[in-house]
């Protein structure tokens, strides 16, 4: 399988269905692992979703003194293993995106695992499944590349040119490459 998580931040309508759905995934223990934030509510209603980047060389795993954070063969960075996690919270500080969350009751870290239960079987993660606005999608690598080119093309049609202040509008960002077979 060669699928990626594809986010288009400006599509986010702030409904937080992704978070409600994250709680519903297999062993997620009714806790969401993703984030939705307002950019600046005083200025506009724009919100954006945030989930784990599934980094190639994840800071969370690197700073874990107990080696509790496993990376699957597909490159998914899992939640800390219960039996190994010592609850030091290094990972929550180490991650530059602030993704890992900490369960103080169970004294262990938990984070987005791209719904490993589902994606392992080729089924879309919960957040990408439900996101009503297609802000989060789980799509083929090739489709993603096509979408990026399409975006540039639309901008050409509309005669827009990216500038320093708005270049984010022009390059949809993607992350969480599910496999690296295409690299």
């Amino acid at each position: 399988m060669n699928k990626i998580m594809y986010l288009e931040f400006e599509r986010c309508i702030g409904c937080r269905a992704c978070q409600a759905a994250c709680r519903e995934c297999g062993d997620h223990d009714a806790k969401e692992r993703n984030y939705v934030e307002y950019v600046d509510f005083t200025e506009s209603r724009q919100t954006f979703p945030m989930l784990c980047m599934q980094c190639k060389d994840p800071a969370c795993a690197r700073v874990c003194p107990a080696n509790a954070i496993q990376i699957t063969e597909e490159g998914v960075v899992l939640s800390a293993m219960e039996e190994k996690c010592i609850g030091c919270r290094n990972c929550t500080f180490g991650c530059p995106f602030g993704i890992p969350k900490f369960d103080f009751e169970k004294n262990k870290m938990y984070k987005c695992d791209m719904c490993y239960d589902r994606t392992r079987e080729g089924i879309s993660p919960m957040c990408a499944s439900v996101c009503p606005s297609d802000a989060i999608r789980f799509i083929d690598f090739d489709e993603m590349q096509e979408l990026r080119r399409r975006r540039t093309q639309m901008n050409l049609i509309e005669g827009k040119k990216p500038q320093e202040g708005n270049k984010w509008d022009y390059v949809p960002e993607f992350f969480g490459v599910y496999t690296d077979s295409n690299q």
Binding site: E10, R11, I13, G14, C15, R16, A17, Q19, A20, A21, R23, E24, G26, F41, T42, E43, S44, R45, Q46, D117, R118, E121, G122, I123, S124, M126, S129, V130, C131, P132, S133, D134, R150, M154, I157
Partner: protein
Amino acid sequence: MSQFLVKEGVKNQIRKGEKLVATHCCYCGMQCGMHIRVNEKTNKVVGVEPRYDWVLTKGKMCPKGVTAYQTIDHPDRIKRPLIKKNGQFVESSWEEALDLIERKYKEIQGEYGRDAIGVYGGVSMTNEKCYLVGKYARVALGTRYIDYNGRYCMSSAAGGFNKTLGMDRGSTLPWTELEHSDCFFMAGSNTAECHPTSIQWFWKAKDKGAKIIVADPRETPTARVADVHLDLLPGTDSALANGIMHLLIKHDYVDTEYVNERCNNFEELKEMTARFTPEYTAKLTGIAVEKIVKAAHIFGKSPRSVVMFARGAEQQTKGVDNVSLYTSMALLRGQIGKFASGVATLTGQGNGQGGREHGQKADALPGYRKITNPKDREYIAGVWGIEPEEMPQEGVSAYEMFNLMEAKTIRGLHVICSNPVVSSPNINYVQKALEGLDFLVVNDFFLSETAELADVVLPTATWAEDEGTTTNTEGRVIRIRKVVDPIGESKPDWEIMQLIAERMGKGKFFPYKEPREIFDELRIASKGGKADYYGVTYEKIDAQDGVFWPAPAEDHMGTPSVFKDKFATEDGKANLAVCDWREPGEIPNTGYPLWLTTGRVVFHYLTGNQTRRVGFLMDQCPEPFVEIHPELASQYQIQNGERVKISTPRGEMTAPARITKAIRKDTLFVPYHWGKEQSINQLTSPALDPFSRMPEFKVCAVKLEKLTK
């Protein structure tokens, strides 16, 4: 119990020891497809799984849909009938509750006549139930006073569509066509928050270059991405539509051939709109002239456009005018009845479409028949097995029923699937009217604010505990499946109506063993009417992913697009709307200098009786708030998060301020999902549209005050 599982060839996660039942969400008119996860051993609902194969929503859901299953096995569920004794609810047996209801109904009707008992229905339930509410009122109770919460929801859309197109089907096209449209003109609809899963279709179209025009006093998430945001003053839609049509005519965007062939009144419309120059329109609506002109050109140039609107335009004293005028915009462009173009209202309640078609309304009988029409009375009387003379006369609209309660004309009321002390305008008055009743029965599965006032509360089944059909916002009839048995002693509403009918000596008119039998009767009752369900069967719904009405014959596939060749008016032509400007029922004045408008947030549904009990949704939005523009807040020295007081002559409340530039500087917005002292409907205006009797929830004058420490 339904055994319908996942469709073949569709990959879903099915966990060990669980099964998935395919159904739809219980909340809004999108009726998103979903699977409910059931533990096979315990037969309990354990969660939700997307339904990727559902044509309209493709597995997508908003947070209400994702968490909907949590209301089924909820600790707050009412499991046995409740009878109020000395001001306290006491659990009772069905026997005792029914005895009391029978005695009271007979007493009241014996003394004051049959019409002294009213029925107040709702449309967040299946077609089978909605249909039966009408029959229950007229046959079991023999009362003329029946109306329903759709009066506050879809009545203006219905009025406007009937006037212009001759028939009220919420959407003239199937929404799967939306991705091929070139332009959406959306008025008074916070689409992203109220019908979230529709957004995927707008994005698909936008990816191909479609334009979006949004008319709303607030910069909603949809307005934020729109090509033009027409930030109009609340209550000025009719001026805007007239202004746009003025420009369509002036710049030759009118499809003359279509208009000549298929529409009446063009000359009159031309004359009326002549005065709505961009300058005059701008003055009335508060929108900048350039924006109006830009919107008109975009709309005028688009080969395929869809005009859409929702409660923002409809919940006004001009609701019917607004709907008729917006519909006329689509007509001028020759759009209705063609591919990927047309006109649509966004249905608020799950079955807001189906529930308004089959006789829950004061003046309606099944299949959009009229209770004032002798032929219609005769036909339905025949289906029901009563004499036409026994059929009660027309009643009054929802809000007017409270007037009659105050006047003691209505002395007993049965509320089924609604929470009018939160959803009505001016609820302080409504509450008094309900408190003054001799006898109030409420069917609900949670103790709503209205149920709290009741003498008897009858526990009903949730949507997942009964079979049936609903009709989604497109006009597509779909199936709701029974997932588990009703909890405790709760019963589906149709069974409850049946039991009361028996007590009233009318049992033989209600001989149903299952919802399918009610549906089969509905099919016959609607046969030959405008909303003709005769050709809709449960099997056909499964086989072809829903059936669009009208489906007038057994072998009819249904009608995804309506008005292809002619309209449903008497002469087959659409009536263009000729409506002059009228002021809203109330406008800002020295005592109440600002505008107030209300609406929804994405996390709650209607009066919140269900969603306020779901942890995730309450975490996101626990209480109402007042949206205020920073410039206005600064004048009142109000900080973000500070509690402020707002008031109208009808009531007052306090709520925290949420300061944002995404609203007009002269308008306040408060969501309406809370009851009692948290309810904005203490303040809203009960001014009614003269035609649809829709209250003006969306516009009134308000005073804002900083609370002193």
